[in-house]
């Protein structure tokens, strides 16, 4: 190989290595990666593309254990619905005990073209989860008849990059954010 080709290959390799450390722009992720323990978290779910070129028509997210009183933000052009269910345990909140609430939020009936970007917002209270824990919210993205399941939870020692459809996750931070 000539020296210039070798150099190009080397730069390409370095570029690729750098590229791999940059967050995967094509995945569904939360805008704010940190949620305060025992506080409120505004979850902004970012949807950068559709399914294999098709427009997104529905987004459903499952609220994991330890997150209570989830409230979706309405969205023009989309129908919002919630599904309630029992929590695994009871939580004390504002003087009362809560043992059931919103377990799934769905935005349906919309049309987000593949080349456009949109955000789906909800607010949720983080209960007493140890700071440093990473928690995942499985998301189902529907594009007409196609579906993408962003539900893979990285195993011990692995990161999001090791998976093709990782679930969006947040890391629990220091307590705060009571408003």
């Amino acid at each position: 190989m000539r020296v210039s080709q070798l150099a190009a290959a080397a730069f390409l390799a370095v570029g690729a290595a750098v590229a791999m450390t940059v967050p995967a722009f094509a995945h569904i992720t939360f805008e704010n990666p940190e949620a305060p323990s025992n506080g409120f978290y505004k979850a902004v779910l970012r949807v950068p593309h559709g399914c294999d070129g098709d427009a997104t028509t529905a987004v459903r997210i499952q609220i994991p254990e330890g997150f209570i009183v989830a409230q979706p933000m309405p969205k023009s052009g989309w129908q919002v619905s919630v599904t309630e269910g029992a929590y695994a345990k009871s939580y004390k909140y504002e003087g009362s005990t809560i043992s059931k609430g919103v377990k799934e939020i769905a935005w349906t009936g919309g049309n987000l073209p593949d080349s456009f970007y949109d955000e789906f917002v909800f607010r949720v209270r983080v209960t007493d989860i140890a700071p440093g824990t990473k928690v995942y919210f499985p998301v189902v993205q529907e594009c007409g008849s196609k579906t993408e399941h962003w539900i893979e939870i990285p195993a011990e020692g692995k990161s999001d990059d090791d998976y093709e459809h990782p679930a969006p996750g947040v890391t629990i931070g220091a307590p705060g954010g009571d408003d």
């Binding site: 570029g15 940059v22 722009f25 094509a26 499985p138």
Partner: protein, 523 residues
């Protein structure tokens, strides 16, 4: 200068990219994934939905050999083209690619295609058709092999060991008779194999269809070379140097038929597999072809000339026996996953029968060498008759060994399976890969609760990749064949070495169980 510009452009695009970029996708490829082409493609093409930087592109054959051409592929926007200067022979191939999109995202994958045969492997080797065509075909096969070994072996014996001149005319007549018989048998055998490949009965020997299929078979050129060799052996060539060399060449060519079929070809790439089979056939010919000439030499005259001939043979015979043993042991080691298969599997039992016959031949050879021959040559008349009969017996056992060897083709060698326990706290998961060596592997997945109840995920997929061999990930969906039991007919584990597998079970819309396993294929 151009290099510097492209580097700056790349880095600039990298830094300028933001979360709104579209996702790079492979839209199409040529040849299309899992397609079967009648002719070898002149180029491999990948079409992406946006401009890409190509990071890696490999073309591999089904035994993990790297066939990537030396000239690099051309990338114009989202179109990647890799010219194939050499036509690909019939077979199955894998294209593994890795590309970087302008927003920094890396995409990769691999796909297979086939030239001249089905893209997906045929259903597992069925037992030979139990119709009337089997035994006649088997008899023809055994007869052809025996005659070729005797004809080639007798010729090589005479050329290498120079028996007494008075014996030569009789030996030559015998060689030509054997060669003529071998030619006829081999010719009919080629036609019979063609008829079998075309799915017709032996009556197809009389029609063009069977012969056309015969000519198209992968080993046809070897069978043709064998016919040419046998033809040379049947000709009345003289004893000049040219004549002797031609006959030697003819004998070697005649043995080419041993490399055209055989289970060793399934586990070794063609050149190596053919070489081992040829080596085995040549060594067997040298050993077996000597019995009749030795018997004739001794029957005619038990004097000093014959004694010298026997001594010359003993050296050659020792080498031939060792060569048969080594090549045979190599093939057995490659084909049998465990030594216990020799008595536990049908194929192993057939091989054991052949080995028993060969051991008997060795015992007779030892008896001859150390007891019978020295005494017979020393003049004892009773020993003389005994030696003649023992040599005939040796030949008979040798022919039996060849028939048993042909019988090995009645069924496939046993398969070893690799079994992995991928259970977690919630589910009991077992993954089985057969045959557990490089090549297509059938994957079976058994899923259930720990109490034994089977569960049925919505989707079961297996993703395989081999970073060590440069094979990018490819994913296949498993189909359900019973409650809790899923199957992928062929995972393309087409290289030796380290592989990473990921079994993904979609239990419900929101729950995916991913189980990773790393394995090494040592052969």
């Amino acid at each position: 200068m151009r290099t510097l510009l492209s580097v700056l452009l790349f880095l600039g695009l990298l830094l300028a990219s933001g979360p709104a970029s579209a996702h790079t996708m492979l839209l199409a490829s040529s040849p299309a994934a899992d397609s079967s082409q009648a002719q070898s493609p002149s180029a491999i093409g990948l079409t992406f939905n946006e401009p890409v930087q190509l990071l890696a592109l490999k073309l591999m054959d089904s035994v993990g050999g790297d066939l990537t051409p030396a000239t690099p592929p051309t990338v114009v926007g989202g179109q990647v083209t890799l010219e194939l200067p050499k036509a690909l022979p019939q077979g199955r191939y894998l294209v593994s690619w890795r590309a970087g999109s302008l927003d920094g995202h890396i995409v990769s994958g691999s796909f297979g295609f086939a030239v001249g045969e089905a893209a997906l492997p045929a259903s597992p080797q069925a037992a030979p058709a139990a119709d009337s065509g089997y035994w006649p075909g088997f008899a023809l096969h055994a007869l052809a092999r025996i005659l070729v070994l005797l004809a080639a072996g007798a010729t090589l014996f005479r050329l290498l060991l120079r028996p007494a001149d008075a014996l030569v005319p009789a030996l030559r007549r015998q060689e030509r008779r054997l060669a003529a018989g071998a030619f006829t048998a081999q010719f009919l055998l080629i036609g019979a194999h063609g008829a079998m490949r075309a799915g017709l009965s032996l009556a197809a020997l009389l029609s063009m269809e069977g012969w056309r299929a015969a000519v198209a078979a992968p080993g046809a050129w070897l069978d043709g070379a064998s016919l040419l060799g046998l033809l040379i052996l049947a000709l009345p060539l003289d004893e000049s140097l040219a004549g002797r060399l031609s006959r030697g060449l003819g004998a070697l060519l005649a043995l080419a038929a041993f490399a055209s079929s055989g289970h060793a070809l399934a586990v070794l790439p063609p050149p190596q597999g053919q070489a081992v089979m040829l080596f085995h056939g040549l060594a067997a010919a040298l050993w077996i072809g000597a019995f009749d000439p030795l018997r004739r030499a001794y029957a005619r005259d038990a004097g000093a000339a014959t004694s010298a001939l026997f001594h010359r043979f003993q050296r050659l015979g020792f080498v031939a026996v060792a060569a048969v043993a080594i090549s045979g042991a190599t093939m057995a080691w490659l084909l049998l996953p465990r030594w216990s298969d020799l008595w536990e599997s049908a194929y192993g039992l057939r091989l054991s029968a052949k080995l028993l016959a060969v051991l008997t031949m060795l015992a007779i050879a030892a008896l001859n060498r150390f007891w019978l021959t020295p005494r017979a040559l020393a003049g004892a008349a009773a020993m003389r008759r005994r030696l003649l009969r023992v040599l005939q017996l040796d030949l008979a056992v040798a022919l039996l060994a060849v028939v048993l060897a042909v019988g090995l083709s009645a069924g496939p060698p046993p398969t070893a399976s690799l079994v992995f326990d991928l259970s977690n706290e919630q589910y009991a998961i077992m993954l089985t890969l057969s045959p557990g060596r490089s090549g297509d592997n059938e994957a079976a997945v058994r899923i259930g609760m720990h109490d034994g109840m089977p569960i049925d995920p919505k989707k079961v997929e297996i993703r395989v990749e081999s970073p060590a061999a440069g094979i990018e990930p490819s994913t296949q969906e498993a189909s359900q064949i019973a409650p809790g039991l899923y199957r992928v007919p062929a995972l393309p584990l087409w290289a030796k070495g380290a592989w990473k597998l990921r079994l993904s079970l979609m239990i419900d819309d929101f729950t995916m169980v991913d189980r990773d396993v790393e394995l090494t294929l040592s052969r």
